[in-house]
């Protein structure tokens, strides 16, 4: 070891990429360590005739199914929801659907407005400039004038909502319920390094067009042009500290399994709500016998997963619902805010999902035990395939100390590093909210013209949103980091991912992860030049 970097970032996903892109504008030496590689856009599933089959193998969202060399196992046996992620430059945004709403103002102040959980130490107004700044890198499509938010301007044109979206929109109108074209991290026009979207469909298998703002497309080209160093195939095992318990770098394995160290003035961990507590908990020393940042036994606790229910309506007419960006059409925030009459606090959003592809649809019928065999097989598939509209219910999960990430006592990754174990149950409030949401989704599907509906939830393979396991706050007794993401117990160590979320909102977290990461990066930059 000879060189001391200004900043080492661990993880090149949504948060790490934003920190790298921001700091790259200044005279700051930044290196990022990422266990995966750059996605090969010329080899993504959507370029192949058997593209759907990749979802069940190397592009499966579950790392325990994928089992690629860059993946680490996650024990989810004690959770009804399995963790989903992707380990690569761009992280899970490589496989995300691109649904990109902001949190609502009340999401940051749930204790003040609803008397539950905790308020964030920051407000929507404080984060708003960073939501805006992030659009320098991320293509955000949508439509101005949404009554669910304070003004959001200068959006790219919305993703076409399609026949299915229009059918649902009319249903929402008949109920007098809110809906709006989805906020989408998709370039509907040429934007920076992005090509315009051509509605391929399976955004969640990677976008070979380069239209989706996965971080490998949105932030990394900028950061790399500005000379940030990115080292792939590097898996961090531990954060290093000095005798004053200040972070001084990390220990990691390179792709050949060689154990190395890197020294830095500032260390940023951005490995998501499971990967980050795993590294903190694995960083045990005499100074930190329970792991770094864990003097109050809070690291890994308060895991929130956005339990998701899926409601499908079957229509007489063909809605071409299998066409178009899978996760981006319209969404409804009608029930996002609390109401005293519903029997639960906080709420949920409804996100229209395009229909599954042919293979996925028939597999889904089989899973639901509704697939007919024999002479009725063809007719039953014909009547249903692409004749469906779909709503996902995304429930605002509340923080609970018992929902947590710990180190598995047995399971290890290919470098011998202890793997994470998730222990999680749905809270009563969440269950009531989900049941209410399913009923509302059925109502609006019927109002849209569906003849029947089918619903199930929570859906197991939907643990994409991993939040709360190193929450921020002003009080070191009840939080892991301060309002900038710096760990209370460990100076110069920052967290830049959804681990720091205090509460979860009922919308997808990526826009908020990246806005927070930019804010954290701005704080680090100030430390160089006060």
């Amino acid at each position: 070891m000879s060189e001391i970097w200004d900043v080492v970032i661990v993880g090149a996903g949504a948060g790490g990429s934003a920190v790298a892109a921001y700091l790259s504008d200044f005279d700051i030496n930044v290196i990022c360590l990422e266990q995966g590689d750059f996605p090969n856009v010329n080899n993504l599933p959507s370029t192949k005739s058997n593209w759907e089959t990749f979802r069940w193998s190397e592009f499966n969202p579950n790392p325990n199914v994928r089992k690629l060399k860059e993946d680490y196992p996650i024990n989810c046996d004690e959770s009804p929801i399995a963790v989903a992620n992707y380990n690569a430059v761009g992280g899970s945004t490589v496989l995300f659907s691109g649904h990109y709403p902001r949190f609502h103002p009340s999401d940051f102040k749930v204790k003040s407005v609803d008397g539950i959980a905790e308020d964030w130490p920051i407000s929507y107004a404080e984060l708003e400039p960073f939501y805006e700044l992030n659009r320098k890198f991320t293509a955000v499509a949508g439509l101005e004038g949404d009554p669910a938010y304070p003004a959001i301007k200068n959006l790219l044109p919305p993703v076409p909502i399609g026949k299915m979206g229009e059918k649902l929109a009319k249903g929402f109108n008949s109920m007098d319920w809110h809906w709006w074209p989805a906020y989408s991290a998709i370039a509907t026009r040429k934007f920076g390094d992005h090509e315009p979207c051509i509605n391929l469909g399976p955004c969640n298998l990677g976008c070979p067009q380069g239209a989706k703002s996965s971080a490998d497309v949105s932030h990394w080209p900028y950061a790399l042009r500005n000379k940030v160093q990115l080292q792939t195939g590097c898996r961090v095992s531990q954060i290093l500290v000095n005798e004053f318990n200040q972070a001084i770098g990390v220990k990691y394995f390179d792709r050949n399994g060689k154990e190395l160290e890197i020294r830095s003035l500032f260390t940023v961990i951005a490995c998501n709500g499971v990967g980050t507590p795993r590294i903190l908990l694995n960083s045990k020393s005499d100074l930190n016998p329970n792991g770094i940042g864990n003097s109050k036994d809070l690291v890994g606790r308060n895991l929130m997963l956005h339990p998701l229910a899926y409601v499908e309506g079957i229509f007489e007419e063909n809605l071409d619902s299998h066409l178009g960006p899978q996760g981006c059409s319209i969404s409804s925030h009608e029930f996002a805010e609390s109401s005293p009459t519903r029997g639960f606090v906080r709420g949920f959003t409804m996100q229209a999902l395009r229909g599954p592809s042919l293979s996925e649809a028939t597999r889904s019928y089989q899973l639901q035990k509704t697939l007919e065999w024999g002479n009725n097989h063809h007719e039953s598939v014909r009547k249903r395939y692409s004749h469906t509209a779909h709503l996902s219910i995304i429930v605002e999960d509340l923080p609970e100390l018992s929902n947590r990430v710990v180190l598995d006592p047995i399971l290890k990754d290919s470098n011998g590093i202890p793997a994470p174990k998730v222990t999680y149950t749905l809270g009563e409030n969440t269950k009531r909210c989900m049941a209410f949401g399913i009923n509302r989704a059925r109502e609006v599907l019927i109002a849209s013209g569906a003849s029947t509906t089918k619903a199930f939830g929570p859906v197991r393979e939907t643990g994409w949103h991993l939040m709360g396991t190193a929450c921020m706050g002003d009080d070191p007794a009840t939080s892991v980091t301060d309002k900038w993401g710096e760990v209370h117990d460990c100076e110069n160590l920052f967290i830049a991912d959804s681990s720091v979320f205090v509460t979860s909102s009922s919308v997808n977290p990526t826009a908020t992860i990246q806005a927070l990461a930019l804010r954290t990066a701005a704080r680090i930059k100030e430390r160089f030049r006060p």
Binding site: P147, I161, E337, L371, W373, N375
Partner: protein, 147 residues
């Protein structure tokens, strides 16, 4: 000896073949093909699962024949296809493999207008937003809570 040569000695091979082809039969109305056992078995072979599933099918048929008191034959297809225990048996990964294979057949995909050979680079044209649909939503005014 290959898996297929070994399987030729399987006592239920004929019944398994008949069952598989009856699960998704030829559709005269659309011309959609039946699920061919030989092709399906090659698909399983590529996954290294052929013998495992042959065993699973064999046990399923043995149980059904015992329960229904009949040998599986063309004349008794309906008796077997609509039996709830068969449905239960197919609810496992076995049923998944059947549809995974069948709905990758180009002729089947072409019928359902799937992107062939791949979504990229052709893409799709979609119905754009009719902005008029949003008038009522917008006129309600803000629904978020001021903090």
């Amino acid at each position: 000896m290959s898996s297929h040569e070994k399987s030729a000695k399987h006592p239920y091979l004929g019944s398994i073949e008949l069952l598989v082809e009856s699960l998704i039969p030829f559709d005269g109305e659309t011309g959609l093909p039946s699920l061919e056992f030989m092709d399906f078995s090659k698909f399983l072979e590529t996954k290294g699962e052929f013998e495992e599933y042959l065993l699973e099918f064999g046990e399923l048929i043995e149980r059904l024949e015992l329960k229904l008191g009949a040998k599986f034959s063309q004349n008794s297809v309906d008796l077997f296809i609509y039996d709830k225990d068969l449905k239960k048996g197919l609810a496992s990964i076995l049923g998944m493999r059947l549809v995974e294979y069948y709905y990758q057949i180009p002729q089947v995909r072409a019928y359902y207008a799937q992107n062939i050979p791949a979504p990229f680079p052709k893409g799709n044209t979609l119905l754009a937003l009719d902005y008029g649909l949003l008038e009522g939503v917008h006129s309600r005014g803000p629904i978020y809570r001021e903090v």
